[in-house]
Amino acid sequence: MQLSREELVGAYRRMATIRQFEERLHEEIKTGEIAGFTHLYAGQEAVAVGICDQLSVEDMIVSTHRGHGHCIAKGCDVKAMMQEIFGRAGGTCKGRGGSMHIADLSVGMLGANGIVGGGAPQAVGAALAARLDGKGRVAIAFSGDGACNQGTTFEAMNMAVVTKAPAIFVFENNHYSEHTGDAYAVGTARDIASRAEAFGMKAWRANGCDYFDTYETMRELLDHVRAGNGPAAIELDTERFFGHFEGDPQRYRGKGELDRIREERDCLKAFRAKVAEAKLLDPADLDAVDAEVAALIEAAVVEARAAPAPDPATVADDVYVDYY
């Protein structure tokens, strides 16, 4: 492991930020103040952060309906995101998009997406664009185990192979698409990664609840892609800590499943344990990070709650750059 102390603290901070952002939303949603569908990313932090930590701001990602984690990991402003989810004028998207449609091109975050499978072809296009510039940039599509069954995802994988685009398909297998298990919905002789392999790209597998495994595996993958070998895929075995959307009774869970995954598959706990064992960081350092993050999230919520709503008169603005 060649990560510096600073990098480790940064990684932990980003994961903790996602976790606290989501835990807090879980509470805020109960108050009824947040409208629409909210899909929480908690549990999968090691994936977003383990991957995005190795990207430059010029590298691009496209995300999913469960996009908060990807946004934070890629560098979107947390307070603006909170405002967006609260539907405020000061939100990342001026309250027009909400939880499912956060984007910030200035940090290479090309958009969350309410259409499952919508993003994968876009990553191929972004990768083709990147190649045109010749700076070694890559484009990443995040997809779930459910999204991996959408035709667009398959088409995108094939097209990436055919065009040798520097596109990366990240499959976050949290074992559920809504209320259905991957054991049912993903037809495959082996796993999702093996389907990517059948399209002629190299695929990796990693423990998506382990920052270090994700990071190391992704480093290999990125070396491969940046070296001009065309697209690649990675499947990450991970867990979602909350329901599909807020309000989901989660009757599909096994008895004690949530307790077990929170106990055994918590990427933050695992991170703490590893850095402590390897004597890389002091638990107190991480406690301090937690406190910092808590303050940030608290401030974000307070500001979002107080922030002005969008002006209804602007409802039809921002459709075109110009329309004549």
Binding site: A35, H101, G114, E178, T180, Y252, V315
Partner: protein, 336 residues
């Protein structure tokens, strides 16, 4: 007559019709739910609660959970219908017509014609549509105009529990493909539902109320909004005919034209952007076929030419409101 919600009217109709006709099968994402999980398949009944108990009763060959593959869902319905069955396919959100349009438009709608009138494709596609739950641009759209434009499809939009039962029964007993739109904000609406066999013929609009001064033509959630506007206007002595189209294809032209011939004033209310919309369609119908009856320019109450926004204040501004409908009626009465 029982009092029930639209949700229950749909669920009970599916139960009754599947019992009656062994050829009906249901396909969709999470229509069973729990497949492949530790919790096991347990008929969670879809995220909208419109398929509960069907799996337990009719088994895995007739109630089928699918992967997230809308083209294959609708395409499988197309194939099953050609093969002689009556598939019901659920699109969890009507917006997913985007990822399945070809099977609806170029396949299901066209089979009979392309094949020389020798085939039937009685597929029923259930589409959950509409704004009002802050589900933003990709989960709030009213897709009915797009599908109304497509020859070969029938397009149905119940606004009451009785019609939900009557129109769904009719869809399941007819021989043509039906696009069955369910407004997500209307599932909880309660009303009387006739017991036993109840079929509502397509192409027969519902005269929600008669008023004689102006004609409001609408459908879906906008029926209720139009009634609210009509109530307000009635307080001022202005009487509205309110027409709930029930089906936009076929269209009950006669009901619309008769009313406009009497009132001379037309307001069309349509939860959709304005261009090439159902509102424009109805307006064109009246302008071409009841021109001489019109005493004032028709008014179209639609959303603006923009996607549907997320924030409460913005979504409310986007959707036609009772206030806007009321104002439009006052304008058609003031003009001409």
């Amino acid at each position: 007559m029982a009092i029930m919600t639209i949700r229950d009217a749909i669920l009970q109709t599916l139960h009754a019709e599947m019992e009656r006709d062994p050829d009906i099968l249901l396909l969709g994402e999470d229509v069973v739910g729990g497949n492949g999980t530790a919790g096991g398949p347990e008929a969670i009944g879809g995220i909208w609660g419109t398929s509960g108990g069907l799996y337990a009763k009719f088994g895995p060959d007739r109630v089928i959970d699918t992967p997230i593959s809308e083209s294959a869902i609708v395409g499988a319905a197309a194939g099953a219908a050609l093969a002689g069955k009556r598939p019901v396919a659920e699109l969890m959100f009507a917006d997913f017509v985007g990822v399945s349009l070809d099977q609806i438009w170029n396949q299901i709608a066209k089979f009979r014609y392309m094949f020389g009138g020798k085939t039937r494709c009685p597929a029923v596609i259930r589409l959950v549509y509409g704004a009002g739950m802050n589900t933003a641009a990709q989960h709030s759209q009213s897709v009915y105009a797009m599908l109304t434009a497509m020859p070969g499809l029938k397009v149905v939009l119940p606004a009451t529990p009785a019609d939900a039962k009557g129109l769904l029964t009719e869809a399941l007993r007819g021989d043509d493909p039906v696009m069955f739109f369910e407004h997500k904000t209307l599932y909880g609406v309660k009303g009387e539902v006739p017991d036993g066999d109840h079929r509502q013929r397509f192409g027969e609009a519902r005269m929600v109320r008669e008023g004689g001064d102006a004609t409001i033509v609408t459908c879906g959630r906008m029926v209720n909004f139009s009634e609210k506007a009509a109530d307000k206007l009635a307080a001022d002595g202005i009487g509205c005919d309110v027409i709930d189209l029930r089906t936009t294809s076929p269209l009950d032209e006669e009901a619309i034209l008769d009313s406009v011939e009497a009132t001379g004033r037309l307001v069309v209310v349509d939860e959709s952007p304005p261009r090439c919309s159902l509102a424009a369609d109805i307006c064109a119908l009246v302008a071409t076929k009841a021109f001489s009856s019109l005493k004032a320019p028709p008014e179209l109450v639609t959303g603006p030419h923009s996607p549907i926004p997320f924030a409460r204040e913005l979504e409310r501004a986007w959707v036609p409101s009772p206030q806007k409908i009321e104002a439009a009626v006052r304008r058609v009465l003031a003009a001409g």
